[in-house]
Subunit: 389 residues, 2 copies
């Protein structure tokens, strides 16, 4: 179940080569502050469009009257009616910097992350992917030639696992290593779930645990005595490595089954949890609802021990406040109350992963909040020897 | 006809703010060397695909047998059969760094550049664009807030001019300012010209003059006494500024009319001229032909005075060798001999811009070359007071 750590020596690279050193962000967000982005994007707004979504992936849904009215809003992907046969174009793009040191896994994560935005709209048949890449001008030629093919391979394998393929892209040179992509699905209307139909009484389901950013950072601190000393009293090195492996596994996992099952269990709305954290994305989803609802989150499923680290760091990550960035996080799905348990069970049956009912939809003003003392769900609840989850 | 120079003072920025300083490339190519890229992309190859195109935009054409056989190859855009109604997805992505100092014009150029790849396949109805952006962490907040909206605005206006719109994208932080995008068209087969049907006797037409990179560099040298001293004996400051304006105008111009007219005049193949220069792209196009042909280029239309600069620099740019990088360059179209003049005339009539017959298709081994002493065509042939072209 565990993946062997990436060893630079296996590729004749210096033992201290770290992919994550190829940007100066070191696990911190690469995101332009949300309010800055919203201000920027005002310039792209047109009168007939309601918004640019979560600010991170600023896709919009074009509420045009051709060929079928999509009265819509911006969320994770754009949904655009095209000229042909009542079809819609569902597209998203995302690119960022290395946050794990294994190049192959990094490629998988980048691919899963961009696909996730399309899955969040219920679209599961992706027609094409493009890959966005830059090599870093801080890499030696030898490093580049060893590392870049592994990233490509990871991205490609993940795309194939998703039933699609990578048929294009661009590669440039940059100070930081960039990896990302574009996912495109051409869909009929019934293949898309416009995420705006939450009603009072619905429940919120989350399909992956939180805490990826904390895990990734804690892992980097193993090589930074100053930082490590601050948390070593609350967690062992082994536990950090295990959390890191779990985070990698989780980020590289596709949200495809979760998206497919949204159709089976009549999901009313969905978003995926990424750069603005659980609460940020929940708020954005709430804002775009047709009805007077608000989302109240009671439970926080978190990769085991990451809540402890977050507390030991004075909540600097905002993990328990729902503001810690996630990469390639789970789907946050709004489901009819009577279907939610079956949805979670079906995911468990098909994928072997847990999903959790984490909150409820109440009457309200299109906002989202986490209750004062949310229940922390450690994921997994206990370790099984030799198993990740 | 001339656009007023972008003045940082108009935006309360420091007088020496230069957009082109937000990368260290300063007009040099941001491209990964072609052979490195080809090696990298081998990892993405699948047995049923012929290639990844020009290496710069590594789009492929999937020669699947569904729903209509597209026996194809990789060029500027990918062309992928989709599940619905015999339709094809034509897509391309490109992103790079500032090469002119006017943010609005830079936005237009980035947009025209990515659209050009789709136009090169004959597809002119673009359904959607995504925008890829990064702010530079070397910008102050004030610079960012002044500059980024202008880039967005330029990109958006260019997309609107092309009859499409920008419905998504992503913005991150990077050491260098990144601007680029994704263009997507869903087309019927007869809207696409698979660029593989050149026959002996055809001629080559180019729709924009060469020399954009030389012009952009020469303009930067106005502020670099060392470099300026090397060329000031062969060109005046005024001529450099004029060439720079011409280059900006040319790079921001859409290749849409040229693409539309390819259908009217039965073009046999086409590519657009960008990072690998005229010869690089001609060679790539030649390589992908069905018949035993080669391309021989006799004429080089070049922005006025840029050939002189290139010679004064000891041909360091490779302009006369056809290897000087272009950004958002013209279409290189293979046309039946009897149609080529009418194609050029029609462009002139509709757009007011010249196009040129620059070479011929001969029997050969799918290569391309420029003859020993090509004729240099100065564009425009002479100055008209107050006019660019």
């Amino acid at each position: 179940m565990y993946r062997k750590y990436f060893d630079p020596l296996d590729y004749n690279l210096s033992a201290d080569f770290r992919l994550t050193k190829l940007s100066d962000l070191k696990g911190r967000g690469c995101k332009v502050p949300r309010e800055v982005l919203h201000r920027l994007l005002e310039g792209l707004q047109t009168a007939d469009k309601n918004g640019y979504g979560d600010g991170q992936h600023h896709q919009g849904i074009l509420p045009e009257s051709k060929p079928t009215p999509v009265v819509g809003i911006g969320l994770d992907s754009c949904v655009i009616p095209i000229r042909h046969g009542g079809l819609f174009l569902v597209q998203s793009t995302a690119f960022f910097y290395p946050l794990v040191d294994d190049p192959f896994v990094m490629g998988k994560i980048a691919c899963a992350n961009v696909l996730s935005d399309v899955y969040a709209m219920g679209a599961v048949e992706v027609d094409n992917m493009l890959m966005l890449l830059s090599t870093s001008n801080k890499m030696t030629d030898k490093e580049r030639d060893a590392i870049m093919p592994l990233i490509l391979q990871g991205f490609k394998e993940c795309a194939e696992e998703a039933g699609t393929s990578v048929q294009g892209g661009q590669t440039v040179i940059n100070p930081w290593l960039i990896v990302g992509g574009v996912a495109t699905a051409v869909c009929t209307q019934n293949e898309i779930i416009i995420p705006e139909n939450a009603i009072v009484g619905d429940v919120l389901v989350l399909t992956k645990p939180l805490g990826t950013q904390v895990a990734v950072n804690a892992h980097q601190w193993l090589e930074n005595p100053d930082r490590w000393n601050r948390i070593k009293s609350v967690i062992s090195e082994d536990d950090v490595r295990k959390a890191y492996q779990r985070a990698m596994n989780s980020m590289a996992r596709l949200n495809k089954i979760g998206a497919l099952l949204m159709h089976k269990y009549n999901a009313h709305a969905c978003t995926d949890v990424t750069g603005f954290g659980l609460l940020g994305h929940a708020q954005n989803l709430a804002k775009h609802q047709k009805h007077d609802v608000s989302f109240v989150i009671h439970n926080l499923p978190i990769i085991a021990k990451m809540a402890t680290i977050s507390k030991a760091c004075g909540n600097a990550f905002g993990l328990l406040q729902g503001t810690s960035a996630e990469t390639s996080g789970g789907l946050l799905v709004v489901l009819p109350r009577e279907q939610a348990a079956a949805y979670c069970k079906d995911i468990q049956a098909q994928e072997g992963y847990q999903a959790w009912i984490i909150g409820v939809v109440e009457k309200g003003g299109r906002t989202a909040k986490i209750i004062d003392k949310p229940r922390i769900i450690e994921v997994p609840a206990k370790d099984t020897e030799g198993e990740l989850w």
